[in-house]
């Protein structure tokens, strides 16, 4: 087994420490004040939050599954017209941050709030995840199995339930758990729509009082629920079926006159998920254009871009080191570091933000309330995303090339720099770009940790919405979709792949 260069080890280990320490610290602090934390939790309020959060997670999971699965099946396996256009539309809500979607609706309907509103917005925002996951699984099924099942006595609907569904179930389950994690950690949309879940309660407890024990205790409960779901997701992720062959011939079910019903359904989901919020925001922007403070908008845009760029480079730097370590040198420590980096995946941003508030205020006051605190928060939140995006291009560089380079007298370290990285660089750049765009859209950790005078598109949008100044918030929302959402969707390799396969 080859040993990784020291520099890679140092960078990798420090990234992991940066990511894990604050969360561990939050736990330790709570353990110290265990009695008080317990007293905080043993209140009816906690039960209420648990109920509210659970209900929303469950409801959105079910509806997102139904919507996403239907979209995937109709666009890949039926004769519905304009299938590839509908597939693009099904993925498009990914370009709209959920709090932007919430803003679009609440600015249109004054009474749009509470459970139903949160459920609707989050279903529309998360069903693309199910759509993409199930599509990827559906296109890998050999449709000859459907035909065999037909000749063995199954009708069309039974083929769907007994042959198609069991084959996509692992992918669907993994997608739904992803949706559950998303809803559990969601803050912006839920807070705007005033539905009481853990994330909103944590934020309010933090903002509303000097005693932060309550916020920390609630954060810990949320963390435990999250870990439970992550554990479930890991368990089910292993169950992906070994597909005998990718992309065999694909036969489509003739919908006949049902085609129109299907088209109506797909169209209305697109209208609700993309059309309504975007049109609403557009109308508000036009209405408020006379009083638009352009310098303020440009200042926020610059603030966002600077922060996102800085964070993207910072996270990319660590991710490259860890990816090189994990992919090119398969040492045990490297594997551990990679696993640990993944562990922060799907931690609710509110919990990470709060952990960093505690850690920063008590241990590292010299960077507390500076941009660096935010950058570290983004590192914790998005290192897994960066790793996922950067590992693939690095793994795809043929090992033979490294061997050839070394046989020609170039030492291992220089081979990495002269051969591996240059070949992988397009993928790495795309990965860093994707992470930067994700940073651009981040809301809760940004709100908790922002330096007082720093403003971004997301924080400006938030401040204006809290004042119910929709015409002021709308341009920021639209700008977020244009500069962050759409480019992110284009860079998203999973989305690109699924969409091209629907066409195939």
């Amino acid at each position: 087994m080859r040993k990784p260069p020291k520099i890679i080890v140092v960078i990798g280990v420090s990234a992991t420490l940066l990511a894990v320490l604050p969360v561990v610290y939050l736990g330790l602090r709570l353990f110290e004040g265990f009695d008080r934390a317990l007293a905080e939790l043993l209140r009816f309020r906690t039960l209420e939050l648990l109920g509210n959060t659970g209900l929303l997670v469950l409801a959105v999971s079910v509806s997102a599954l139904l919507v996403g699965f239907s979209q995937a099946w109709l666009t890949t396996r039926s004769t519905v017209k304009f299938a590839s256009s509908f597939a693009v539309l099904a993925a498009l809500p990914l370009a709209i941050p959920s709090y932007v979607m919430a803003l679009g609706y609440m600015s249109l309907f004054p009474k749009f709030s509470g459970f139903f509103a949160s459920w609707l917005v989050l279903t529309l925002a998360t069903s693309p995840y199910v759509f993409l996951g199930v599509t990827a699984a559906l296109v890998r099924i050999d449709t000859a199995t459907d035909e065999v099942a037909r000749t063995l006595g199954l009708g069309r609907f039974k083929v769907l339930t007994r042959v198609t569904w069991p084959q996509v179930r692992p992918a669907a389950t993994a997608s739904v758990l992803l949706v559950a994690l998303y809803v559990l950690g969601e803050f912006g949309a839920i807070a705007l729509l005033r539905y009481d879940t853990f994330t909103r309660a944590i934020y309010n407890a933090y903002q509303g009082s000097f005693d932060r024990t309550s916020a920390a205790a609630l954060a810990l409960v949320l963390l435990l629920i999250t870990l439970l779901i992550i554990w479930l997701e890991r368990r089910y992720r292993g169950l992906y079926l070994a597909n005998t062959k990718a992309l065999g011939k694909r036969l489509r079910v003739d919908l006949g006159s049902w085609s129109w019903v299907a088209m109506a359904g797909l169209t209305s989901i697109a209208v609700f998920g993309v059309g309504v919020p975007i049109v609403s925001l557009f109308v508000w922007s036009v209405q408020g254009s006379a009083s638009l403070d352009l310098p303020m908008l440009l200042d926020a845009l610059w603030g966002s871009v600077r922060l996102a760029g800085l964070s993207g480079l910072f996270i990319g730097f660590f991710a490259i080191a860890i990816a090189l370590w994990a992919v090119r040198y398969r040492t045990r420590l490297g594997a551990w570091i990679e696993t640990l980096s993944w562990a922060t995946h799907a931690l609710p941003a509110v919990v990470v933000g709060l952990a960093l508030v505690f850690f920063g205020a008590n241990i590292t006051p010299w960077i507390y309330q500076t941009t660096w605190m935010l950058v570290i928060a983004y590192l914790i939140l998005f290192l897994p995303n960066a790793l996922a995006a950067i590992s693939t291009p690095i793994a795809q560089v043929p090992k033979d090339l490294e061997d050839v380079s070394q046989s020609l007298g170039v030492p291992a370290n220089r081979t990495l720099v002269k051969v591996v990285l240059p070949i992988a660089i397009p993928g790495i750049v795309a990965g860093v770009g994707l992470v930067a765009l994700t940073v651009l859209k981040e809301l809760p950790a940004t709100l908790l940790l922002r330096p007082t005078e720093a403003n971004t598109l997301a924080t400006r949008l938030w401040d204006a919405t809290e004042d119910l100044a929709y015409s002021q918030a709308a341009p920021y929302a639209l700008l977020l979709v244009i500069v962050a959402g759409l480019p992110a969707l284009v860079l998203n390799s999973q989305a690109r792949k699924a969409l091209s396969e629907v066409r195939g």
Binding site: A144, V148, A149, T151, G155, R169, N243
Partner: protein
Amino acid sequence: MATLNLRGVKKSFGDFEVLSGVDLLVEDQELVAVLGASGSGKSTLLRLIAGFEKPTAGTIELAGKEISSVTKVLVPEKRNIGIVPQDAALFPHLSVSQNIGFGLAGWSSKDKAARVAELLEIVELTEFADARPEKLSGGQAQRVALARALAPRPAIVLMDEPFSALDAELRTRLRLDVKAILKKEGATAILVTHDQEEALSLADRVAVLRNGQIVQVGSPTEIYNSPVDIGIATFLGDSVLIDGEVKNGKVLTRLGALNPLNKVTEGQVGRVAIRGENFYLLPNPKGEGEVVGQVFFGHDAVVEVVTRGVKIRARSNGPFAPEVGMKVSVWVRGSVNFYPV
């Protein structure tokens, strides 16, 4: 009794006619191979019989009942047919036994278990009963697919190039297995293939499909020995075509007067098709032929000879084949098919 009866079946996709009037009878317990090049419409024919496509003309009857016509197509699940796809297409989420028992929905659990056990034994995979499909080799997967199709005792089994994904050695073995399994089950079956060796070695009867029509049906020996036209003759085996004219009941060619197999009329002009194995080469320093090429296969060899201005390819015993540059005498053994132009 005819199990399957196709009458004037046509199928077009848009303006493109894939099948232009297919007539085919398959008798009970018979194995018929439909032999055709790729694009000849073989798979479409199977999909029509299975009920996945609707004919643009003609009818299909199965066990005396009309199952397809221009106006009415019985759904696949009500046809009582079994299909074995090219790549087995086992249900990846079910075990081998569950795959085989999939079509036995109405059966009691006791009968079902007995039937599955019986088939596992017939396809010699009893020890794989609980295995997942991804654990099987290509040949094993095909045997499971066949068992799954046979389990509900279908009126007919349709096999779509079932051996094409396998390597050569396995293919030969599995062919014999499949034939034995089908006979043991007393099943009626259609096999479509582009491989003439497969069709000839496996089938009770071979139907040659060309340009959307069945151009010849017969036993493998009939098809091989008496192709009705020159196209089939060259498709079925490596043949050399030589011009000739009928004189005194024989065909006069540059290689001498040959005995025609088929009926000829005096004075006809045309071509004879001579197969590689009909040539006999004798090394002879004064011979008129010269060996210009040789492809060695081990058990036999193909020897290219130029003689009297004609280039022929002769099959020869591998180890004793004449070598390049040698002079040989050439004879044509047996009778040949004559095709007037």
